[in-house]
Amino acid sequence: MTPMQKLLQLPVNAMNMVKTAQDQMGQQDEAKSPVMTPDGGNHNWYNGEPNDPRHIRFGSGGGDQEERAHLEEGGGSLSSLVTQPLRHDDLKEMLDSNKDSLKLEAMKRIVAMIARGKNASDLFPAVVKNVACKNIEVKKLVYVYLVRYAEEQQDLALLSISTFQRGLKDPNQLIRASALRVLSSIRVTIIVPIMMLAIKEAASDMSPYVRKTAAHAIPKLYSLDPEQKDCLIEVIEKLLADKTTLVAGSVVMAFEEVCPERIDLIHKNYRKLCNLLIDVEEWGQVVIINMLTRYARTQFLNPNMNESLLEEGGGEKAFYGSDNDDDTDDEEDKEEKEKKKTEATAIVKRKPYVMDPDHRLLLRNTKPLLQSRNAAVVMAVAQLYFHLAPKAEVGVIAKALVRLMRSHSEVQYVVLQNVATMSIKRRGMFEPYLKSFYIRSTDPTQIKVLKLEVLTNLANETNISTILREFQTYIKSNDKDFVAATIQAIGRCATNIGEVRDTCLNGLVQLLSNRDELVVAESVVVIKKLLQMQPEQHSDIIKHMAKLTDNIQVPMARASILWLIGEYCEHVPKIAPDVLRKMAKTFTNEEDIVKLQIINLAAKLYLTNSKQTKLLTQYVLNLAKYDQNYDIRDRARFIRQLIVPTDKSGALSKYAKKLFLALKPAPVLESPFKDRDHFQLGSLSHLLNAKAGGYQVLPDWPEAAPDPSVRNVEVPEWTKCSSREKRKEKKADKPFYSDSEGESGPTESADSASDTASGSESGSGSEESGSGSESEESNEESESASEEDEEEEGKKKKKNVEKIKARKPVPESESEPSSGEDVKKSEKKSKPRIGSSESESEEDDDSESESSESEEEESEEESEEETKKKKKTTASKPPSKPPKKENKKEKKEMSLLDFDDFDPAPSPSQVTPLNNFLSSSLVTDLEGLSLTDNVLSPTTIVPSGNLKTYELLHRITGEGLSVEYCFSRQPFSPDPHMVAVKIQFTNSATSEAKSLHMEDAKLQSGMRIKEFPEIEVLPAGETVSVVMGIDFCDSTQAANFQLCTHTRKFFVSIQPPVGELMMPIFMTENEFKKEQEMLLQSLGQLMGMNEITEKLTLEEKCQGEHAVVQRVTTAANLSRVPCGSDKECSHPVPPPPFPIHRFAGKTVTSGSLVLVSVVTKEDGAAQLTVNCEKMVIGTMLVKDILQALTQ
């Protein structure tokens, strides 16, 4: 503090002193307002301020205000409340002045008062006058004041309303928003209609920021006047349809506060919310995820349904619990309950579970958010997975939760609570992170106890020894509460795991000699519980404990010991009466619970050993009769009547023995977190284990899925939206088509396929949409482009396959992979096989027409839209049948599945004529249709797996030009030794890009490159694909070159995965075996050099045959060797015990053979063998395939 400031303060202090003195001197008549009369010195001092330059300086520093406030405080304590209004005269005057700096200073002081919690309401009239002040900061502070006090001064607050109403019409969106914000924050009931109007208007404002503010205003108005609910729901409905990320979080918040029960409002916005989620600000994410969890619980089926039905765990209960809610099924329900087991399995057989694609969408889109820096977001995703994901997938959240545990201790506290609940249900999930729950001596006690809880939950036969060793360290801690908790934890481990019961018991007995009484007491209590489980083996422990009664003073422990002795007095017949004798001596000094147990002990001894203890018992009962505590007196009276035979003793005394010495069941030591998961995890209610106000109950899974079509959106314009998404190169108008196509999709697939075929059709549909949407959003477009291209080709290929089939019977298991099946298909496997083969032929007919059509397209080079129309017409060609009830659901699912695959992103050949190479390869393919299979290009057998797209140039880097590439797996016709690389340019800039070409290739020795022809012009918003060839020389070295536009050059590089360095060749099983042997022998002694064998465990999802084939062929450009063909010919040979999948190919440059075989055994065990002359390629390939199979 500067000396000057000190000087300035002096008069004030002095003034106060003087005034106090005056007060005391007894100017009684002025007592009502004595302290600061308007003409007092203080007033003068303030009057002087404007003229005094020093004062301005004084006022602007924060520190001075602080001093000021203290003085005020001091003043306040001296003067009475009545005087307070006058004390603010200086401030009023400042507010009335026409200098902004003075006003500002006054407002700052007033706000500082508010912040400190001082009452400044009397200044309201003076402040509200300044609501229209030009100075922004003054205005802001006035707003702050208004919002704080408007509720108390409703009439005066109305003066300000017109200012805000004017603000609502301002051309600047920020002013509109802030006016609405303040207006809605003024809690004055009279203006409810004005607020309502303002909100409605703002909800359709052009600016998303204003709309966001409107969303914020909704709960404010609702809390002010709940009767506006219906109107507000309309606004919410409107805002829910908003397409921007800015609004999404706020409106869902409003939804949760106003109408959380109106889950139906979400249907149409569900997919949009899922897709926008990652770009919403973090707080909004939390709210949306929590809401979607609830939504999903009402709309989808339990993904763990099958498992929970089969096991007799709690899951089953939950499943049937949901039945109970359903009144209509009550009858059926009861029946079902009677024959639970059989019915359960029947259900499983009847309806194999297929996850709704929307359910999958939610899981997929939330998963990356586990990486958020915001603990609340991570927790929200974690609870979503816990409540919604299939068992096998829940594991992913463990890592993220363990990460949160390294955060602030409050975060740890909340996370540990949730982990404790989760670890009961899903112990395996956290087992790998056991050590992360070890306790440090510096942890706060509440954290220690929670960690202990988790450790106990995680304990099992394998890790118990490590955990017990840890516990041993904890027992020595100085924190006695924690030690007590540890002892209880040991007790729980001992009850849960029989193997260690004796060890634990011995350990606890040792603790009985601990110096700390609390420790001993806690041990006694726990030992008591443990002994109850097997008392006969442990009479020595009971004896030992009997001795302890001399020393232990903790009542609970004494009581426990006495109970034990009484209960097992037969095991210690000599000691028990002696203990009773000692206790009788000290009876009057004991605590109540101990007294009760003494009476109990006496009663039990009297019944078993009345000779020795009769007198003692009488004595004890007499003492108890005159006890101060009525419970004890009652007990004594009751027991006396029961055990001491008298003339008129009631009927009960006959049963005294039975009453007292009945076998008592051992207590079950349970976790306090058991069954807490009926609260939504991460919620306040869960933490408190009590329902908090406004908590929305997490509903049980429905038994039958509600109609999924409610989520279909007619005109999903939302996809244009968020520019962050634009960052991901999503072109605004594209998804529009994709979706409308998705709409037409269902009719198409439902109509074209016959009833029997529908199963397999939807299977293939699911494959396409599944993979399509799984692919990153960023390359969705190009992906789907290639997909479509692929699809068409696939159909042709299928046709070829069909031809092969016709020549020699090929089991359809072979042709199926060629259509690139997905996991989902394998889940549907329970479908009768015959049906699917039938469907195949049907599908084929279908595809024939389609492919012929695509030929047409090619020749005519129609525009995209036209193609689309055409497709639609083909779709509507077959006579549309009325939708059948039975298949309805499945078809609906299909409609969702088809969501992506008809994305009209142009197939390269249609977009541009530049694509000579590819189209020429298409031509060869088409030729293949009419030729014999000798000409059949090997590619035709390649499964049309999804091509992975890689980014070559990011949009931002490329200044609007983004480039992606993929390995098209087509033969590169100009040079067969080159790998074809399809490159797709997208110009998302506003101007057109000219003369796109490549130059200055920097290549490793031996590598060659065949440039793509220059693209002269790429108009804004257009996409074009070209094909180039690169001879990688059978190495995975990157090819570096420059990509040039008319203005810029970009250095880019293409690095091939090893799997793309080969091309498929067709061979039979016998040929394969021969080649394999040849390869092995060719190196003579070095045998084994070119064979690499790895054992692996297949991931659960990829145990099916199709999955294996699909994954291998996706990882490497190989073709499948038809394994069944030989088998078919030679019937007598028994099929091999385990199926072997063989794949063949050769490297592109040198043509060396690459042979891959995968032997699958039971339980997902498998063996992978790769034979290749090129060792490097072989090893890398093994790695890649391993990864593909185990991931």
Partner: protein, 418 residues
């Protein structure tokens, strides 16, 4: 959601209150103060307290309690995370988060709180957006403000809130364009008596200080991204690119921020840079004990270990201690029984040692547990996991920025049990 916020100092004084909805009387804090009285340490106060009409969620940070009052169901972490953001915001604005700082800038803090929440729901929590609306104080600006009567409130309207990149303010200009990245790794470990590792892991964080003009798009790549097991990012980082290519691609916020935190793969063995030889013993009969601690370098990758500090919470029954240190100095607070031995740089030739006698209160029993030692240390120019930044590329802007990377290894929760 969040109804009110109270800032409370350790002695229980409420020095700031802010209400986002109807005013809640500050008497609600009594429940909290009661719980605080009961707790031995400020950290032991339960973060969530249930009162008849409200729920109190509090954090303890920088010797201050941030207490929020809520009335309805809300994820507790949501509130806790927000409270920490408030603390970080204060730290960011005023250089430190303390009672004096808040009292000095009462109005500004209040204005900031007003902007951060609307009706209890977070509105603007990004530091860049807030700074656009309310400029942080600098010495120069406060002088200018005093002379001209202008203020700290931005006179331009904040456009950051409207942007799709809310974390970066628009129109950033620097004469020197620089980007610095600090890779800071912390070793969390528990060693047992014999020196074997019970548990060890490495937590890393990449702190960035980016002062670049315009809208730079940065790409940071690592030599060995496979090391990173579990990561979390600032919202600016593009998840997808990390997933596909293991590079960090982002448009950075302006100024200081935490780019990512990571956890190193658990399979990798953690190199423990120091070893500790210790013996703390109390004699059964006499009221006496001995302490002997030696610290030496273990796996340091050829770097010097600096800033070594040993902290011991001695048992409550200790009366006095008499120790001598061969290197550095020790302080002992008899009130809290906290012994701090500040060693400084580790010299491999001459190992620092602290030994001497401890005397217990007369008649007090021998403590059962020996106190564990908490080690603090620092190694410059080394990331103990071996993580290396490969390169930083900038796109979108024409100038050439100055780039720098620094590595530091520290001890996190590094505890030696005795």
């Amino acid at each position: 959601m969040i109804n009110s916020l109270f800032l409370i100092n350790p002695s229980g004084e409420i020095f700031l209150e802010k209400h986002w909805k109807s005013v809640v009387s500050r008497s609600v804090c009594d429940y909290f103060l009661e719980a605080k009285e009961k707790a031995l340490e400020p950290e032991d106060v339960p973060p969530v307290i249930h009162t008849p009409h409200h729920y109190l969620i509090s954090i303890y940070r920088d010797k201050l309690f941030f207490l929020s009052v809520i009335q309805t169901e809300v994820p507790p972490l949501f509130v806790i995370e927000f409270l920490h953001r408030v603390a970080e915001m204060i730290q960011d604005y005023f250089g430190e988060c303390s009672e004096t700082v808040v009292k000095d800038h009462m109005v500004m803090v209040y204005e900031l709180l007003e902007e951060m929440l609307d009706n209890g729901f977070p509105l603007a929590t990004e530091s860049n957006v807030l700074k656009e609306m309310i400029r942080p104080p600098t010495i120069l600006r406060s002088v200018v403000n005093t002379l001209t009567g202008t203020s700290n409130v931005g006179d331009t309207l904040p456009t950051g809130q409207l942007s799709t990149i809310p974390w970066r303010r628009a129109g950033v200009r620097y004469t020197n364009n620089e980007a610095y990245f600090d890779v800071v790794e912390e070793i969390d470990a528990i060693l047992d008596q014999s020196g074997t590792t019970v548990f060890a892991e490495i937590q890393g964080v990449v702190e960035a200080c980016v002062k670049l003009s315009g809208m730079p798009d940065l790409t940071l790549s690592f030599m060995n991204p496979r090391l990173l097991d579990d990561v979390s990012f600032h919202p600016c980082v593009r998840y997808k690119l990390w997933e596909s290519e293991r590079v960090l691609s982002f448009i950075p916020p302006d100024g200081n921020f935490t780019l990512m935190t990571y956890h190193v793969n658990a399979q990798n063995l953690v190199a423990i840079p120091v070893y500790v030889k210790q013996s703390i013993s109390f004699f059964e009969c006499g009221s006496d004990g001995r302490l002997d601690v030696t610290v030496g370098p273990k796996q340091t990758m050829g770097k010097t270990v600096e800033g070594v500090m040993v902290t011991v919470h001695l048992p409550k029954t200790i009366l006095s201690i008499n120790l001598t240190a061969t290197q550095g100095s020790y302080t002992y607070d008899n009130g809290t029984k906290l012994l701090v031995w500040d060693i400084g740089k580790l010299n491999p030739q001459k190992l620092p040692n602290l030994r001497g006698s401890l005397s217990l209160q007369a008649g007090a029993p021998k403590p059962e547990e020996n106190p564990s030692l908490n080690i603090d240390l620092k190694i410059q120019q080394l990331a103990i996991s071996g993580l290396k930044v490969n390169r930083l590329d900038m796109f979108g802007e024409k100038y050439k920025p100055f780039k720098g990377v620094k590595y530091i290894t520290k001890a996190g929760k590094f505890q030696v049990r005795t």
